[in-house]
């Protein structure tokens, strides 16, 4: 529960609380055991025979269902944050995300990228990358400055380009959007 409120108040991805999650699953199983024990005490499934035990078992049931929903909501929200990260910053996780994400979450992130790529390739017949051009294109080419050495890359329209630190290029924005999202290229005059 505390982990959920930390996630709620944080804008990024907080550290994955392995211990708390293990504890929460253990509590859920314990609640289930407790509920089963209480149900066995009720003769012939007649809830009216021992109303105090029936009520207690019902409370256990609601508690475990609630805890389970919290766990699903917690993990689902973390997945959503990873998905949103991909759409905003591309397929390379930042240092803080890499540190705080669990191994399972890193795997989920990779699978999600592959899923989007697969969808993008099969959605329509023309060559379309749905992860680029999030804003309406104003001009075909943009004046871009290289902030971080990228090296030589092949671009469909212009062929091979050496994206060396501090160099300036006129390039099709959609072709290099992954570098712009990752902060390796910036649009000049924007």
């Amino acid at each position: 529960m505390e982990a959920l409120s930390i996630l709620h108040s944080s804008k990024v991805l907080p550290e994955y609380p392995t211990y708390e999650i293990r504890q929460a699953t253990k509590d859920i199983n314990d609640l289930h055991d407790s509920m089963e024990r209480k149900l066995k005490e009720i003769p012939d499934d007649d809830a009216t025979a021992k109303p105090e035990i029936s009520a207690s078992a019902l409370i256990d049931h609601y508690k475990l269902e609630r805890s389970k929903r919290v766990l699903y909501a917690y993990h689902d929200e973390r997945c959503n944050r990873l998905e949103r990260y991909f759409w905003r910053h591309g397929n390379e996780l930042s240092e803080s995300f890499q540190t705080n994400a669990s191994k399972q979450e890193t795997d989920y992130f990779k699978n999600y990228i592959n899923l989007i790529e697969e969808y993008s390739q099969n959605a329509v017949e023309c060559n379309l990358d749905i992860t680029t051009t999030m804003e309406p294109p104003r001009e075909l080419l943009a004046k871009l400055r290289v902030i971080e050495d990228i090296g030589e890359v092949y671009l469909p329209d212009v062929g091979s380009v050496n994206l060396e630190k501090n160099s300036v290029h006129y390039l099709k924005k959609a072709d290099v959007e992954q570098f712009i999202k990752a902060g390796k290229l910036i649009e000049m005059g924007s």
Binding site: H32, D107, L115, E118, E125, C126, T132
Partner: protein
């Protein structure tokens, strides 16, 4: 005059495909206008709408043909290059419309993936979207399993283990209804009346006057769903 004709000829050569922008601005092209309306509708309406196969495929074909026509022009004069730039920019704009539509749907599909599966909405999806939702469901289920459901008793697992051959979305997918996020049909939407209509019960509750053509209102989606479907009103 001759120069003008020559320019027009070059323009047609580069254009190649049958996308006729004429002298009208982009927004006036009926197909583009239609696509913008479709995107707007998909974005504003809370529930997932049927995939617009025909319009998407028409636009897709145009983009594909335009790209082929532009790439075929290998040696160009400076004048031709200028038109190629214009056409490439236009292709990017058309692609942006396609991308926006596909992304809008994809985000909705992600949000309501369990609802789509449990309530048999898969027929509203394209083939690619159907494959996406099927795999998205599996990845999410496996992720929850790896993170915590493997440590719970089997009877407490809401994503019950299913056989590989059943691992496609269908209404009997073993997922607890508690986890299903449903589209909020009460969400208000802006609509514009396409024709006059007498006051109808259960429609805009506080309005007593007749609804007039061109009138714009903010109403809960489930109150105006039928009007939108019957094209009496449209999303704005």
């Amino acid at each position: 005059m001759e120069a003008k004709e020559e320019t027009k000829k070059e323009q047609e050569e580069v254009k190649g495909a049958d996308l006729d922008y004429g002298d009208e601005p982009e927004g006036e092209n009926p197909l583009i206008k239609k696509m913008i309306k479709i995107i707007l509708k998909e974005r504003e309406i809370p529930e997932i709408l049927p995939y617009e196969e025909e319009t998407v495929s028409e636009l897709d074909t145009i983009v594909k043909e335009q790209e082929e026509a532009v790439s075929e022009q290998e040696t160009r004069t400076a004048n031709e290059n200028f038109f190629v730039m214009i056409y490439k920019t236009e292709i990017e704009r058309l692609k942006f419309l396609l991308k926006t539509y596909l992304r809008t749907r994809l985000f909705k599909i992600q949000k309501y993936y369990l609802y789509i599966i449990k309530h048999e909405k898969a027929d509203l999806l394209s083939k690619a979207e159907y494959n996406f939702v099927a795999n998205y469901f599996l990845y999410k289920r496996n992720h929850f399993k790896e993170c915590f459901t493997k440590d719970l008793y089997d009877s407490l697992n809401d994503f019950v283990e299913i056989k590989e051959e059943d691992a496609v979305p269908h209404k009997n997918a073993p997922v607890s209804e508690d986890l299903v996020v449903q589209p909020s049909l009460k969400r208000p939407v802006f609509i514009k009346m396409n024709c006059d209509m007498p006051r109808v019960n259960d429609f805009v509750m506080e309005t007593k006057e007749n609804l007039k053509m061109g009138e714009i209102m903010l109403v809960p989606y489930d109150n105006c769903k039928d009007l939108i479907e019957a094209n009496v009103a449209e999303i704005v």
